[in-house]
Amino acid sequence: MYSLDHLTENSLVVHFSSKMDISITLRIATIAERVRSELGDLLEVVPSSCSLYVEYDILKTDPILLESRIKGIIATTTQSASSYKTITLPCYYDPSVAPDLLRLAEEKQLSIDEVIQIHSNTEYTVCSTGFAPGFAYLSKVDQRIATPRLSTPRSRIPAGSVGIADQQTAVYPSASPAGWNIIGNCPLTLFDINATPISPFTIGDKVKFTPITRDEFIEQGGQFE
């Protein structure tokens, strides 16, 4: 089941689930592809892990007609059947680049090494892209280190910061305001406006983090701020 809500003058969202479920995420990505190619002339079609967001030109599009067409596509989309790549991301897990690492470990009654081991031993799936260019929402973070967002977001954290929010993890590709718990830093460039594609992540891709040393971090272009 799903629910479709009109949000603003020219946008709507379809919620498919209130829980992370990778098979649902992949189905949403397929629905988004069909909405883009079959309905055309829309301003934004953005799949997320549990929802699909659509923004349209109110002068060209009748919201009620659009709603029924989207419902038609949902009704006739069963599963996705693409193949996905695996991406390995180096990560320097250290309090010098990770303001929340120590606190998270203490809250979870784990050692820092255990947090690192749990985070880097899990294979994640790209469930959504967005928030910022090159930002990919990765699921699922092991329950033992899953931590809610900060109650007040930080105004700025440096590029490369690796964060946890509930059962999602992600790398912030550029300096940004951030509400996630920062546990490490990835020195790779994950967004380049002149590259094709501009970001390596596609929904469905697999991602693994590899712990690196301070020297490796510096060697790969890592920065301390």
Partner: protein, 267 residues
């Protein structure tokens, strides 16, 4: 897309600045925050200025806001600090020349796209016919940037948002306008990240709402209380720190009608 929307924060002032010069409404304008800016004409140039009141003058002679004018070669246009509103829009006949990235000339600093002008930057316009009819925006379309505002919000759910007053925080930029309130709103848990339209009012767990503007991150996981109507976003973009806000429920149908009317006028 994962890149921030960008564009003029106050689309009302931006569109009028172009309109009184006869430019298409999407022509690039300069968004000038707070003021204290001086511009020297290297050629005779037709310009217009709208938005915040910055007491513009040409070679020390005051000119009216919300008007088009000519800056002759060698003349200085001077903007003082804004006395009401936050952002001025300076348009040039033909539109400013700017490099397009992904079919937009917007500057979005958070994505390192576009250019933040520095002291000494030189700007050019796209060549066009050089005639001008001096125009002033009709007074009924010139907003007053009051220190207390009532803002229309599209919202499906009842919320304490509509019963309290809020104050605009100084910690406010093109990403979002942070608000604070004496009694922080009860907040639910975060949601799984999803897209945030322009004007989303999100509620972090600290109970102080944030209204998301043009340079917002495209996704977010905080609870959402509603969406400021497109027409009222122009007021939010001009709200100075300390401005008192009240929110009022708007009907989606009426908000759509008002937005369509706005678009049809300028497009």
């Amino acid at each position: 897309m994962c890149i921030s929307q960008g564009g003029a924060a106050d689309i009302h002032a931006h569109c009028w600045a172009n309109h009184i010069l006869g430019n298409p409404s999407h022509s690039p304008t300069l968004e000038i925050l707070v003021g204290n800016t001086e511009i020297l004409a290297l050629e005779d140039t037709h310009l217009s200025l709208t938005g915040a009141e910055m007491h513009a003058s040409i070679d020390d002679k005051v000119i009216p806001n919300w008007s088009s004018f000519t800056l002759k070669k060698g003349q200085h246009l001077k903007l003082r600090y804004a006395s009401s509103g936050l952002r001025s829009y300076l348009a040039i006949k033909g539109g400013f020349k700017a490099t397009s990235v992904l079919n937009s000339v917007s500057t979005v600093l958070r994505n390192d796209i576009g250019s933040n002008l520095q002291d000494g930057s030189t700007l050019h316009n796209n060549l066009t016919d050089s005639s001008i009819h001096y125009k002033r925006v009709p007074s009924k379309f010139i907003p007053k940037y009051n220190s207390e505002l009532t803002i229309n919000v599209i919202s499906g759910s009842p919320s304490a948002l509509f019963t309290q007053t809020f104050t605009v925080s100084p910690n406010t930029d093109r990403t979002g306008v942070r608000l604070f309130t004496d009694t922080p709103l009860p907040s639910g848990s975060g949601i799984i990240s999803e897209s945030n339209p322009l004007g989303t009012i999100q509620l972090p767990p600290d109970g102080n709402p944030i209204i998301l503007l043009n340079d917002r991150q495209t996704q977010g996981g905080y609870q959402k209380l509603g969406y400021v109507t497109k027409v009222d976003l122009a007021k939010i973009a001009q709200a100075r720190p300390g401005t008192i806000l009240r929110f009022k429920k708007a009907s989606l149908t009426e908000a759509r009608e008002a937005w369509i009317k706005f678009l049809k006028f300028f497009i």
